[in-house]
């Protein structure tokens, strides 16, 4: 399992993470990210890392 954390203050609501890992990230009505799960399952690790890389605001942290 990896722990996922997000910085909602940094988030600009782009939704790159939602495209990369739709089972882990979602957006509220202002587009700001929120987490569907706090820990990603092994089969989601790759997607979560992709999401962290794709985030244009570097607002996603991934901790093993």
């Amino acid at each position: 399992m990896v722990k996922v954390n997000i910085d909602r203050d940094r988030c600009y609501g782009l939704g790159q993470c939602v495209l990369a890992a739709p089972d882990v990230f979602d957006q509220d009505d202002d587009g700001i990210v929120w987490l569907l799960v706090e820990e990603a399952r092994p089969e989601q690790h790759d997607e979560v890392r992709q999401a962290a890389l794709a985030c244009p605001r570097q607002a996603i942290g991934v901790a093993d």
Partner: protein, 415 residues
């Protein structure tokens, strides 16, 4: 990958820009192949990813061509989008375009964030996905027109220019009956060469949107304008002027960009028949193919300009406060440190990180919608015309290669 802020500048690398001989004059246009960036950039990128260049007005700028350098330039808060700053790169040699004053692309920091969040709520991934049926319907109607025009028809005219503008009209809330009127106004606004004509076109556009806003003050409408009137104009968070500016610039930004990706993207697929065949056989590859085409195609001709408000290190080179930089995504998208075999079109690759939508706070807010439009258009086109090919496979592509976006001006297809 870098952290969210660049390393502290190293005085060793601080060479004031104005003391350096320019590596080249910007922009360059000569290319050896229709889908590659101009050769001079490619050569320079391998040698010097942060290079001094001379701009059209004779002033120097740094040209940034590495993936890491472009990401730093577009995300580090020490860089500003303020076009009126004396150090801001000027690619045309003409004064700053009044048209773009106080638009989202020219704002920084908290003010930018304040207005930007009003748009992002309208452009979430969920909103984009909900538009799939509408996008499919608009696409199918355009493909009907292409079919009706018969073999040899121009895909740019019948499909590339039609789909994005109809989708944008639907999103924002422009009635289909006004479609011709609106696209005419937008074209005049974008293509005007005299500032008087442009000012007149802008007045027309603003008064047209003013009418739409008034309508939404009296009627609930389920579209971007209706939502923004209710959520932000009614509460006083947004002035009428700013609402109108956000609305028309959103419309303008979403049309030609996507249109050129349709035209150039289809041209690239038709010139890479093995890749086209792969997509036909394995349609699940389409979303990834959209990103790969966006990575591979050198759409952005003049880069993304910024000015340094403080000394900041970019890819090992210190950029001094007040100096201009131009980030060039098409070269960053071919950085071998990030993409293997970068000069090959490979629809199987994961190209999600490409920088054609930009990066950082100004990244295209409608990327999810644009991606979906392209996925639907490429997908429906291959389904509907399984034998699609270039009408004249030996002829050179008709490209417009001197403008703000590199594109095919015409694409005659047959089936």
């Amino acid at each position: 990958m870098s952290s969210h802020s660049a390393a502290a500048p190293d005085p060793e690398t601080a060479t004031p820009l104005h003391t350096l001989a320019p590596e080249l004059a910007f922009p360059q246009f000569e290319r050896s192949a229709p889908f590659d960036p101009p050769q001079a950039y490619t050569e320079l990128s391998g040698r010097c990813p942060v290079a001094p260049v001379s701009m059209a007005d004779g002033k120097p700028s740094w040209l940034i061509t590495s993936f890491e350098g472009v990401r730093t330039t577009l995300s580090d808060p020490h860089f500003s989008s303020d076009m009126s700053h004396p150090g801001f790169p000027n690619r045309t040699g003409k004064p700053v375009d009044d048209l773009l004053k106080d638009t989202l692309g020219a704002m920084d920091g908290e003010r930018h964030r304040y207005y930007r969040r009003m748009l992002t709520g309208e452009l979430t991934v969920r909103r984009a996905k909900a538009m799939r049926p509408v996008i499919t319907q608009i696409t199918d109607e355009a493909l009907d027109q292409l079919a009706a025009a018969g073999p040899g028809a121009d895909l740019v005219k019948h499909v590339a220019f039609v789909v994005p503008s109809r989708v944008a009209c639907h999103l924002v809330g422009i009635p289909l009956s006004d479609y011709e009127l609106f696209t005419g106004m937008a074209a005049t606004l974008m293509d005007s060469t005299s500032s008087d004509d442009q000012f007149a076109a802008l007045q027309n556009m603003v008064s047209y949107f003013d009418t739409l806003v008034t309508d939404r003050e009296h009627h609930d409408r389920d579209d971007l304008l209706g939502h923004m009137v209710r959520r932000y104009l009614a509460t006083g968070e947004l002035t009428r002027d700013m609402l109108i500016r956000l609305a028309w610039t959103t419309m303008a930004a979403g049309q030609e960009t996507t249109a050129h990706m349709i035209g150039l993207g289809v041209a690239a697929l038709l010139r890479h028949p093995d890749q086209l065949e792969l997509l036909r056989r394995e349609p699940h590859l389409l979303p990834g193919a959209v990103d790969e085409l966006m990575r591979y195609l050198p759409l952005i001709q003049f880069g993304i300009p910024r000015v340094a408000m403080d000394d900041v290190e970019v890819d090992g080179q210190t950029v001094t406060a007040g100096e201009g930089v131009v980030a060039l995504p098409p070269l960053a998208n071919r950085d071998p440190a990030v993409f293997e075999r970068p000069d090959e079109l490979d629809v199987r690759r994961n190209a999600r990180q490409h920088l054609t939508f930009g990066y950082g706070p100004h990244q295209c807010p409608a990327h999810a919608l644009a991606r979906l439009e392209l996925e639907v258009v490429y997908g429906r086109l291959l389904e509907r015309f399984p034998t699609l090919r270039l009408a004249d496979s030996d002829a050179d592509l008709k490209v417009q290669d001197k403008d703000i976006m590199y594109r095919v001006s015409e694409l005659a297809v047959t089936w």
